[in-house]
């Protein structure tokens, strides 16, 4: 006769004792598996969430990048070509350049085989008092766009102001109640109001535009300009230096500055957006991390408590089982069964409880964890965890059954056999 038969028959006979032990292991294993499954689901969700956010951010940055590229292509940099001796502090303080350079510079530039520069706009500006109206204005003479001779001139982006006409900034026409078509006198010359500009919220609102040569005449600066605006430059990458070199090679006595352009603002906005997105992802990561810590903490308390409780419970069940089987143990000893084999009778039962409990508990825990974690995919199945519980649940049951099994083996058979 094999001892296994005895164990199996005893289990079949005393189903309650066995079931209670089994339930205890199932509960312990399910708690551990459930807790770990929830942690795993947390990790899966975190990864999905974070990688989703990262992808979204990458896409958004790509869109921004693309915008930036398109805008750069379309607008390029806004450059201002100024006389070399123009003090930039004065330029920013006075809102216009006061130093002069020959108007012929524009033509030199236009005739050069420039790679980068498009749309040249020469201008002459001076802050003055409008004698007839007693107003401070910025008188701006513009010539319209000077086409590059070697390139196909497209539609000029800024229309020139025809001779004898005037364009007024918002502040001026509004306060003086001037309408388009009215006639105004500036330094004795009569101009027809061609356009009243919308409010722009900058110095343009007190600017007066007339034809360049008329402005030169009024200001007694024939053949002079202050600045050349270069728009829509096709820049070699973002390199302003290349543009500067090119301009200097044609016009040695000038300086080139970049005007605050939309492009720059966009670029800055893009960087800011990227930074904010990355910060948001980092914050999310930290949040998920602290959530995981909390869950870990909970599990780290729950798991030992459950294991300990389950172990005690199994130990008591085995002590009950040993008591119940006193007579059986007595007769086994009487027929010459050795002590260790008596122990084996109980330890084998513990292993069976451990293995069955591990399998049932693992799937119960997986199910519970999956339901509580709100995820039920194959990803939460962890073969390693199954193997671990398959090893440790029987060990737990063995440890719990060890003392009762020892008590059984050491039991004095005489006591029970003497009973009548």
């Amino acid at each position: 006769m094999k001892i296994g038969l005895l164990v199996v028959k005893e289990i079949k006979r005393r189903k309650l004792n066995f079931s209670l032990g089994l339930l205890s292991v199932i509960f312990a294993v399910a708690s551990v598996t459930g807790a770990l499954t929830m942690l795993k689901i947390h990790d899966i969700n975190s990864d999905k969430l974070i990688s989703g956010k990262e992808k979204e951010t990458r896409e958004r940055l790509a869109v921004l990048q693309d915008d930036y590229r398109k805008i750069t292509k379309k607008l390029g940099f806004n450059l201002l070509i100024l006389p070399e001796d123009q003090n930039l502090s004065d330029l920013y303080a006075d809102d216009f350049a006061a130093k002069l350079m020959p108007e012929s510079y524009v033509d030199s530039l236009a005739n050069s085989r420039s790679i980068f520069i498009r749309h040249l706009l020469p201008s002459l500006q001076e802050k003055m008092i409008w004698p007839e109206k007693h107003r401070t204005i910025i008188l701006t003479g513009i010539r319209g766009e000077v086409p590059f001779l070697h390139k196909n001139p497209k539609e000029p982006i800024i229309q020139a102001v025809p001779k004898g006409t005037i364009v007024l900034g918002y502040e001026l026409h509004k306060s003086m109640q001037i309408k388009e078509g009215d006639k105004v006198t500036l330094k004795g010359d009569i101009f027809t109001v061609r356009k009243c500009n919308e409010a722009r919220g900058n110095k343009d609102d007190i600017t007066v535009w007339i034809a360049l040569d008329e402005a030169q005449k009024i200001l007694n600066k024939e053949g002079k300009i202050n600045a050349i605006q270069a728009l829509k430059c096709h820049c070699a990458g973002n390199s302003l230096a290349a543009v500067r070199d090119e301009v200097h090679s044609v016009l040695p006595g000038t300086q080139v500055i970049e005007k605050g352009s939309k492009v720059l603002m966009r670029a800055e906005a893009r960087d800011r957006a990227a930074r904010e997105a990355l910060e948001a992802i980092e914050a999310e990561k930290n949040h998920r991390k602290s959530m995981r810590k909390e869950q870990e903490h909970f599990a780290s308390i729950l798991v030992p408590v459950v294991l300990f409780g389950s172990g005690i419970w199994i130990a008591f069940l085995f002590i009950g089982n040993v008591r119940e089987r006193k007579s059986e143990i007595g007769i086994l000893r009487a027929v010459g069964v050795k002590e260790w084999k008596i122990m084996k009778l109980f330890l084998l039962k513990a292993v069976i409880i451990g293995v069955l409990g591990a399998i049932a508990g693992y799937f119960a825990g997986l199910g519970t964890g999956g339901i509580l974690g709100g995820q039920f995919t194959l990803k939460i199945f962890d073969i390693n965890l199954l193997l671990i519980v398959l090893i440790f649940a029987p060990i737990l049951a063995l440890m719990a059954a060890y003392v009762p099994a020892t008590i059984a083996a050491r039991q004095n058979p005489a006591n029970v056999l003497r009973e009548e």
Binding site: G330, A334, V335, K338, R418
Partner: protein, 222 residues
């Protein structure tokens, strides 16, 4: 001496005192009993005189305070627990008044139980033979709970006989049995002694005496 080699059970000057709290109960005082090979010895005594105690000591399940026990030429109180278990498995069969059958095993499995203590455990044929011999064939696959007292005791006897031990120690085995069953059991024991087995049976039942080769009186201690 011829008698010495023939002596299967040799209990010499055995004393046993139980201690329960402060109270001491002397169960056996300097008791000596022997049984030769093939002998059916009945130890007779009133209730509480230490019969069961004597039997447990003879089978090595209880340690005496003093004295020695030799079974089949082996001084058993000098054996280690391990060796004593092996010795018991090979040489001694027990039959108790309370049968001590394992409730979740069938009669066949119960009879086969001693095979747990042996390396060779192809004893099922022998078990069936004993079961048939003791008239339990129809009960073979039943559990002890379904059996009568006599059937239970016959099962216990079959279990004791499974490995054909040198000695059978029997404690009040007819105590719960009717005439018919008592007869079956005692005749089986006689058959066993006739084929060379030695029986030490303790009882207060006078019916047993006619089966005995020798009767020993055990007096209660005061």
């Amino acid at each position: 001496m011829e008698g010495k080699s023939d002596c299967m059970i040799e209990i010499n000057n055995v004393t046993k005192t139980y201690t329960k709290g402060n109270a001491k109960v002397k169960a056996l005082d300097n008791v000596s009993i022997s049984a030769a090979k093939g002998e059916f010895v009945v130890v007779k005594g009133s209730s509480g005189c230490g019969k069961t105690t004597l039997l447990l000591i003879a089978g090595g399940l209880l340690q005496p305070d003093s004295g020695s026990i030799k079974i089949n030429s082996q001084e058993i109180n000098k054996l280690s627990q391990e060796n004593l278990a092996e010795f018991r498995a090979d040489n001694i069969g027990f039959v108790f008044q309370q049968y001590h059958l394992i409730p979740y095993l069938s009669i066949l499995e119960n009879v086969n139980i001693p095979s747990l203590a042996h390396q060779t455990n192809n004893t099922e044929a022998r078990a069936i033979e004993l079961i048939e011999d003791l008239g339990l064939k129809r009960r073979m696959l039943h559990t002890p709970a379904e059996l009568s007292a006599g059937e239970k005791q016959r099962t216990a006897l079959a279990r004791a006989l499974l490995y054909d031990p040198a000695v059978i120690l029997a404690d009040e085995i007819t105590g719960n049995l009717d005439e018919k069953n008592a007869l079956i059991v005692l005749e089986k024991l006689t058959e066993y002694t006739n084929s060379g087995g030695t029986v030490l049976l303790v009882t207060h039942d006078d019916k047993v005496i006619k089966f005995a080769d020798r009767v020993v009186e055990l007096k209660a201690e005061e």
